[in-house]
Each structure stands twice: as C-alpha cells, then as structure tokens.
C-alpha cells in the first residue's frame, strides 16, 4: 500500500454554532478512489470544501503530500494540485466548452498578461501548447462534437462531463468530485463511472468523490468513508463498510 496523499486529522467545522463536522479523521492513499457517503446533511460537501480551502476548519489539520496545513485558501489548493467539481455545476455558462477546459489550465499558462494582450513573447507558443493539452482532455472525455458550443446550452449530463474536463485539465494530483452522477440516468452513470476509473488508471489521479448511489460506490471505490450527522461512522473497503453495523443502522435504521 502506498503512503497517504491526504490525511485529515480531527477536523471540526461549525457554522455559527451549528456543528457540520465533528472530529473527523481519515486518510486517502495515493492513487485510490475514496468515496464519501452518508445521508443528506451528513457533512460530505462541507468536508470537500474544507479540503480545498473554501471553508476553514475550526480545529484540526490537513496533511497533504506530507505538508501539514492549518488553513488552505482555494487558489493555494489549486496550486498544490487539488481540483474539484461541484454538486450543482459551476461552469462558466457563457463560454464555449473549449474555453471552459482551457480555464482549467490557467495555472499552467506561461507568459504575462501583456504578452498575451499583444500576442508577443511566450504567449503565442504557449496558447498552442495549452490548446493541445485541452484537446487531449476533450478527446479523453469524448466531448469533441461540443467543443465550440456554449456551455449554458448543453444538456445536464454533458455539463457534468465538461466540468470534469475542466478539473482534469489542471492535471490534478487530487481530484474532488461532489456528486458527479447526481441526476443522471443509468447509461450516463455508467459512462461517468467509466471516465472516473479511466482517470484513475491513466493519470494516476487520487480521487475523493461523494455519491449517493450505493451500487456505484461499491463498484467504483477502493475505500469508503461513511458520515452521519457530521461524524465518521465507518471507514474501510467497500466490503468492510457493507458489514459495519453502524452503517447499516444509519442507512436502514434499527429497531429500538
């Protein structure tokens, strides 16, 4: 087993006294797919937001790639190789698919704004390099036919795929997916699962995802973390989690 890429230790987060996350610790190994599951309001999205610095935890540390981080800012997280998608798609709706994917590469761009504006120096060559990489991601996720479509006009399932493309364009080391399959039909879920597995295998990306479809989670992930009311109630392989009595209680209820 490889060493953990991401380790959360004793993370707690509250919003004006309402506890969202209480003392959560777990580790995600390099190259694995880790699923966060739990009922609505269990704190899954909040946890993702803590990992990439949208929320600051009240207490606890994040150890990412061997560095202990107390607070993380979103752009700092991006620079360290953490990319993410959002539960309700956060694409740039007025821009084309290609432009959206290219924005994902913004941290790789060489050349100052002046060089870009005047189309001199490093800018012209760099644009071609970025375009090439963006096209590779577009090919990978098979969205070539919509390359020049305005994102706001595309159907929901495709937008989800474009958002994954934008995240992948950043060449992330850690990819956070917040309900990548929400609202999809069976075929779309199968496609998206395929893309997630391919991402892990081709790029070696470590993936943390939130998903409600237990069937998908069990098939897709190497590691499952179960949350309920902001607390961790299960952590292990899909098989272990499936047999954990606390998890069964949270999901199915117990007779008291």
């Amino acid at each position: 087993m490889s060493s953990p890429l991401l380790e959360l230790s004793h993370i707690s987060l509250s919003f004006k006294g309402v506890k969202a996350i209480t003392d959560i610790s777990f580790a995600v190994n390099e190259g694995e797919i880790c699923a966060l599951i739990g009922p609505n309001g269990a704190g899954k999205s909040s946890l993702l937001n803590v990992i990439n610095g949208v929320y600051q935890p009240d207490i606890g540390d994040i150890i990412y790639a061997g560095t202990r981080l107390r607070r993380m800012q979103p752009h700092a997280a991006a620079r360290r190789g953490i990319a993410r998608t959002f539960q309700n798609i956060a694409l740039f709706k007025g821009m084309s698919v290609l432009d959206n994917v290219l924005t994902g590469r913004n941290l790789k761009v060489r050349g100052s704004w002046l060089e870009q504006a005047l189309h001199i120096g490093r800018a012209p060559g760099d644009e071609v390099i970025q375009r090439k990489r963006a096209e590779e991601i577009i090919d990978f996720l098979r969205i070539q036919p919509w390359r020049n479509s305005i994102v706001g006009t595309l159907p929901y399932g495709l937008q989800k795929r474009v958002e994954l493309a934008r995240a992948l364009a950043a060449e992330p080391r850690l990819l956070l997916l917040d309900e990548p399959m929400a609202g999809m039909n069976h075929e779309e879920k199968a496609d998206m699962s395929r893309f997630i597995l391919d991402t892990q295998r081709e790029f070696g990306t470590t993936i943390v995802l939130i998903e409600h479809d237990i069937g998908v989670v069990m098939n897709l992930s190497d590691h499952v973390v179960v949350l309920d009311y902001g607390k961790k109630i299960g952590d292990g392989t899909p098989q272990e989690v499936r047999e954990n009595p606390d998890v069964i209680a949270a999901y199915l209820g117990t007779s008291h």
Binding site: N52, V54, P74, H75, A77, A78, R79, A83, R84, F86, A90, L91, F92, K93, G94, M95, D99, L102, T103, G104, N106, L107, V109, G111, W113, Q116, A117, L118, H119, A123, P124, E127, V128, Q130, R131, K132, E135, R166, A167, A170
Partner: protein, 355 residues
C-alpha cells in the same frame, strides 16, 4: 452557401486561433479596411468627416472600452466618461509639458493615466458587485469632473477649464484637416479594436469571462480574482482614456470637463447595451445606432414634418421616437445588434435552405 466553412480545413491550432478564421471574414475585413482608408477619404465631405464619422469612431472605441469591463469581465460601471476625461486632460498635459513628445505617445500616456485612475476606482469591485458597484463608479464620474474643474493646473489655468487641441502633427505631417482627423482616428481605433479582439480570445479574456460567469468557481480553479478585476478596470480605462483624448483632439478640438458628464457615461452604456455585451463588433453597431439614428430622424422629420410642428416640439418628438426605437430593439433582440448579425451569419451558412 454565402458564408460557410466547408472546404476550409484547419490543420493546426495556430491557424484555428487566427483573429479571423474563415476567408470570408478575412476578405470582408480587408475590404472594409481598404474602403475606410482609401475610398472614404475621397467620397465623403467635411460634414460627414466631422459630424458623423469621427464621433462614430470615437464612441465605438469608448463602447469597446466599457464592453471589455462590463460585457467581458462582468463589472458594471457608470464612470466611463470620467476615464475619458482623464485620458483627454492627461494627453493634453503630457503634450503641453513634455517638449517634443510624439503626438501618438501623448495619446498612449493619456490612456495609461486613465488606466491608473481606473485601477483606483476599480478597487471597490473587490468587495462589492452589481448595482452597488455601479453606484460606486459614479464617484469616479463626479470626483474626476470636480478635480478637473477646480484645479486650474489641469487645463493650464484656462479661466473656464477648457483645453484646446494642439496642431495634429505626426512625423511632420498635419492631420488637422477633417479628412486627416478622420484617418488619424480610424487608424487608432482599428489598431485598438484588433488589440481588444486579441485580448478577449487570450488567457486574460478567459479569466475575465470566468469571473463574469461565476467568480467563486474561478477562484477555486486558481484564477486570481483581484488581479483579473483590476486588469479589467485598467485596460478598459486605457481604451476609454484614448477615446477621450481622441474626443478632445480629433473630434471637438476644444473641450471642457463638462463635456465628459454623466450623460456621456450613459450614452456609452447604451451603446454597449444596444450593440451587444461581450462583442467587439457590437460596439461599432451600437455607436452607429446612437450617432446615426438621431441624425437620420432629424433629417427625416425636417423634410416630412417641416412646417407642421414647431421646431422645439420637433426636437422633443425626435427624442421620443429615438427612445421608443431603443425599447423596440431591445424587446426584439435583447442581446443587441451583434446578435442580429450572428443570426444573419448562421442563416447565410445554410442559405438557401432553412435548416
């Protein structure tokens, strides 16, 4: 049939990123340039140059400046005329106080001064958005006008704060004739419009649009929001500043701070609303609408209604019709004239078929 890409194979990314991708676009653009530079100077008369073409071009450039800020970067502003005023007065002072400064350089320095002021008044955009930002840019509008009126130094201590254009000498040639002023304006506007077209398709342009469409997501993927917004204000103000200098030097000849009042800011805002947000071409269409339509209306009503209504009423009537037409256009095409052109282009791709 008329406008289609079939048969034009693009085999590398560099070719795909040209400013005008199809030969139809390139041919159209070059023809337009040849017409504007080589044909118009011979067929237009002085009235056309001074009263129609030059203000049309300058207002197009001003619209372009505001469109970069509002249409592309999503930051509302009502301070456009203030940045124009800074550009005009700065260019005047640079030219006046630095001996032997090339004329075009004073325009550029005027733009740079406007960019500086733009950054200053763009700072609130880091904390406030939308209509609140719009109101804070009003501060620029009133503050700049007040400073230029009350500090005599800016107008070289002219009693009424008026600045007068120096002779338009570039490389020993005099551009002071109406045709010369037209050509000078045209050259500057074409160069800056091409620059703008390049900016909006570059990485910087994508940052602007990302901030416009969803700034939280832009921050998460690593786009520096602060720098992006301030650059939008700076570059937009640079364009507006150069437009202001042109307004003072090649259009009016003499100008006072009140020439750049709130009405002018509104005029520029209307240009981009009518022309189309997030479009380069739209600014030219919008400016043409704003400049030409009133002239057309006054000529029409002058001939059709002459003698029927008294001239004072006629002028009010024109304003009413003008306003009505704006409302009509926006209901018919809320995305502006640029969208009409886009629709036409889409249609002509498949013409004579319907779909």
């Amino acid at each position: 049939m008329l406008y289609r890409e079939s048969g034009q194979f693009i085999s590398d990314y560099r070719a795909d990123r040209r400013l005008f991708r199809l030969w139809q676009e390139r041919a159209g653009f070059y023809l337009l340039l040849v017409f504007a530079f080589a044909v118009v100077p011979f067929i237009a008369n002085d009235y056309w140059f001074s009263a129609i073409l030059v203000p049309f071009l300058v207002l197009s450039l001003a619209g372009l400046g505001l469109n970069l800020l509002t249409g592309y970067a999503g930051q509302l502003s009502l301070g456009s005329a203030a940045f124009m005023a800074v550009g005009a007065f700065a260019a005047y002072n640079f030219h006046l106080r630095i001996e032997g400064l090339p004329f075009l350089l004073s325009f550029i320095l005027g733009g740079v001064a406007a960019a500086g002021v733009g950054i200053l008044f763009g700072l609130p955009s880091l904390r406030i958005k939308g209509f609140y930002l719009l109101v804070s840019t009003l501060a620029a509008q009133f503050f700049v006008q007040w400073v230029l009126t009350s500090v005599g130094w800016f107008s070289n201590n002219n009693a009424s704060g008026v600045i007068t254009a120096p002779p338009l000498l570039i490389w020993g040639r005099d551009f002071s004739s109406p045709a010369g002023r037209y050509l000078l304006t045209l050259a500057v506007v074409v160069a800056l419009a091409l620059l703008a077209r390049n900016i909006v398709r570059s990485e910087l342009g994508r940052h602007w649009m990302a901030v416009r469409d969803m700034d939280t997501a832009a921050a998460v993927i690593g786009i520096p929001i602060l720098k992006t917004k301030l650059l939008a204000f700076a570059i937009s103000s640079f364009f507006l500043g150069v437009a202001g200098a042109l307004w003072a030097f090649t259009y009016l000849g003499t100008v006072e701070p009140h020439g750049f009042d709130l009405t002018r800011s509104f005029q520029i805002l209307f240009i981009i609303i009518i022309g189309g947000m997030g479009s380069i071409l739209g600014n030219f269409l919008g400016a043409a609408f704003i400049v030409l339509l009133p002239i057309l209306l006054s000529n029409l009503s002058g001939t059709v209604l002459a003698g029927l209504i008294d001239p004072g009423q006629l002028e009010n009537l024109q304003k009413i019709i003008f306003g009505g037409l704006i409302v009509f256009f926006l209901i018919k095409e809320p995305f502006g004239l640029a969208r009409l052109w886009q629709n036409f282009r889409e249609r002509s791709r498949i013409w004579p078929l319907r779909y």
